[in-house]
Symmetry: C2
Subunit: 167 residues, 2 copies
DNA sequence: CGCATCATGTAAGCTGTTACATGATTAT
DNA sequence: ATAATCATGTAACAGCTTACATGATGCG
């Protein structure tokens, strides 16, 4: 049930409407913890019912800005520090990689090449983001995460290239 | 709906019972595409109904060994080569990393240290597997995957150590 | 004989996706 | 005007987890 804590975490950064949260999930968490508005709105309702968040402001178009309550802040900290993380992951690309040895050489090459193109494209996006942050000169904790992404992509990229060479 | 194709892929490697598949998911796919027997048995039933797998042998204790049909082999190849991969992933550790900047320094350090310990432990397991494969001297396509895992873990490990230094 | 392992299934509940539905405000 | 964007919700369905349930076979 990490959606709940993802929302608490985003609200700790700044009070937001469900709409704001939806956008943040899309731009910052899309590759880590995707969530759509149809999940977010009901979850905000449950969190409010549980006393972990509250409406701090009502704006135009019936928008409701939520913020954390003290109980919400406690719960977020408890989860981050005390709960044993769920390390399981589900990643279709890994599954595909696991199965590609079954394919004849030609097919395998085309699958690996497609993956390589995708990883390189992702890298380019991350590098652009890094450069933006650097230019802006802000001390963004997000920069480190972007950097991790770039490094991981580099390793995967190199591995895929090697596999292509050998296939 | 990758479970279906994961099963087809494993059956392409070798005919298996639901029980065999469950073990393979546990040992080889646990970190990529977890699945438990309560999902696997019904899915085998559906795949049989769709004509993609068939019972090739009946053993003691009512065990049924399934193998791919020609249609199953076609579907597996089609999926691997022609279907655009679903690149989405869901990874709680990434979410936690994203949120740790919210924590006071002490808490953040303990969270990072816990992650680092976990990654190093995973690395050790993978290195042991690599050594085993090397000793056995078999030409295992799985070896390359293990190697990828080791390299990715190295990068993450180094990143976590840096973050710890800076926190 | 008793325990571990092999072997297969079902059911309830939770989580997540896709589609449906509606309406207000702002910019062109 | 009208299109884009802001803004919030619900419903149906698919997928996954946890727990329940049962029985056969092999080993010590």
């Amino acid at each position: 049930m990490s959606l709940r804590h993802a929302i608490l975490g985003l609200l700790a950064r700044q009070p937001s409407t469900g709409y704001d949260l939806t956008r943040t999930f899309d731009v910052s968490l899309a590759t880590t913890w995707p969530a759509s508005h149809s999940q977010i709105y009901p979850e905000l309702g449950k969190l409010e019912g549980a006393g972990l968040v509250e409406v701090v402001e009502r704006g135009p178009r019936g928008s409701k800005t939520y913020g954390l309550t003290d109980a919400g802040r406690d719960e977020l900290r408890r989860w981050l520090v005390e709960d044993e993380p769920d390390r399981s992951q589900r990643n279709e690309s890994g599954l595909r990689l696991f199965l590609t040895p079954l394919l004849p050489s030609q097919d395998r090459r085309s699958v690996l090449a497609r993956d390589l193109a995708h990883v390189e494209q992702q890298s380019a996006i991350l590098v652009a983001i890094r450069d933006q942050i650097e230019e802006a000169g802000r001390d963004d904790p997000f920069a480190a995460q972007v950097d991790l992404g770039i490094r991981v992509n580099e390793v995967i990229s190199a591995w895929l290239a090697e596999q292509l060479d050998r296939t």
